[in-house]
């Protein structure tokens, strides 16, 4: 199955890197949509079918938290998984995003291996094992409340421990 992907980041460099990382991770891509901020992302979601959203938090115009809130309000969160890829390190903020339905977290800079682990977990419910990466570890939803996990997914499959990512 080919996935339609939406990348939301104000940095054109990070959008380019993420696109490359997605390809390297072996994710079958249908279309890749890009947005510079949450507002643009919502416009795309209104017009296009998107299978997964990768979003930064710190963006001008509409940041990632505001975007997730809007997606929640518009009912997108149930059908469109969101993975936050950010520099954010606040567990408090990540927990709040998780409560809003964000399915995975990755902290920049993202390695293809960690990326694949989280994406597999979110799209396939099949999070792979990842190495120790407390400073760079991805988490997905099921890691909420755990400590020491790196990659966990919404369906409860866990790969790692610390909820450190963003």
């Amino acid at each position: 199955m080919a996935y339609n992907i939406l990348i939301v980041d104000d940095s054109q460099t990070m959008r380019a890197v993420l696109t490359k990382t997605i390809c390297m991770a072996g994710v079958e891509i249908g279309s890749v949509f890009e947005a510079e901020n949450g507002r643009e992302a919502l416009d795309i979601l209104e017009k296009e079918w998107v299978d997964i959203v990768f979003a930064d938090i710190n963006m001008p115009v509409m940041n990632g938290v505001e975007m997730v809130k809007a997606m929640q309000k518009l009912g997108y969160m149930e059908s469109t998984p969101v993975v936050v890829i950010s520099t954010e390190g606040s567990k408090t903020r990540l927990d709040a995003l998780r409560d809003m339905g964000v399915r995975g977290f990755l902290r920049k800079p993202v390695s293809p291996e960690l990326f694949k682990s989280v994406v597999d977990g979110v799209l396939l419910g099949n999070a792979g094992e990842v190495g120790d990466s407390a400073a760079n570890g991805p988490t997905t939803d099921a890691s909420a409340g755990k400590s020491g996990g790196d990659a966990v997914t919404d369906n409860g499959s866990a790969a790692g421990s610390e909820a450190d990512a963003q």
């Binding site: 104000d10 460099t13 710190n58 001008p60 963003q166």
Partner: protein, 150 residues
């Protein structure tokens, strides 16, 4: 020490650049005369500003390493400033977590390009300032952290 370590780690993880710290007292500011400068502010338990300055050639190297292309590739030129901003963004986010812990919530401004002023100039509103000097691949890079009085 936290700032020094974070900067080195991010440059290594993000752009595969291995840095050596340089002695501040011996730093020759002429080395960054043509530098691009980016800055961003943070608010939260502490308010402050992060700045980064690097010469254009180092910015090209940053962009090309991040993107996995050659430094003389046309795309590296168009990504040079953005790569510097994103490097700063990641350093700032990582530093704040390392320094203040995972419970602290900070709001970060989007990084912006600016004009390189006198980095050594003391900000009157600053409670504390810290500058770190690095050398990598024959190029210099400066990171400055300013913490404002609350």
């Amino acid at each position: 020490m936290v700032l020094d370590g974070v900067c080195k780690l991010i440059l290594e993880e993000l752009a595969f650049l291995f840095c050596e710290s340089q002695d501040a007292s011996a730093f020759d500011y002429n080395q960054i005369e043509d530098a691009l400068e980016a800055s961003m502010r943070f608010t939260g338990p502490t308010n402050g500003k992060f700045e980064i300055a690097a010469g254009r050639n180092l910015c090209l190297l940053l962009a090309s390493n991040i993107l996995g292309i050659e430094p003389n590739d046309e795309a590296a030129g168009s990504h040079a400033a953005d790569a510097l901003k994103e490097t700063l963004n990641i350093m700032c986010g990582r530093f704040l977590t390392e320094a203040y812990g995972e419970e602290a919530i900070f709001n970060l401004s989007a990084p912006v390009m600016g004009v390189l002023n006198d980095l050594a100039k003391v900000d009157e509103d600053a409670e504390a300032e810290c500058m770190q000097f690095f050398e990598t691949e024959g190029y210099c890079l400066v990171v400055k952290l300013t913490v404002y009085k609350s």
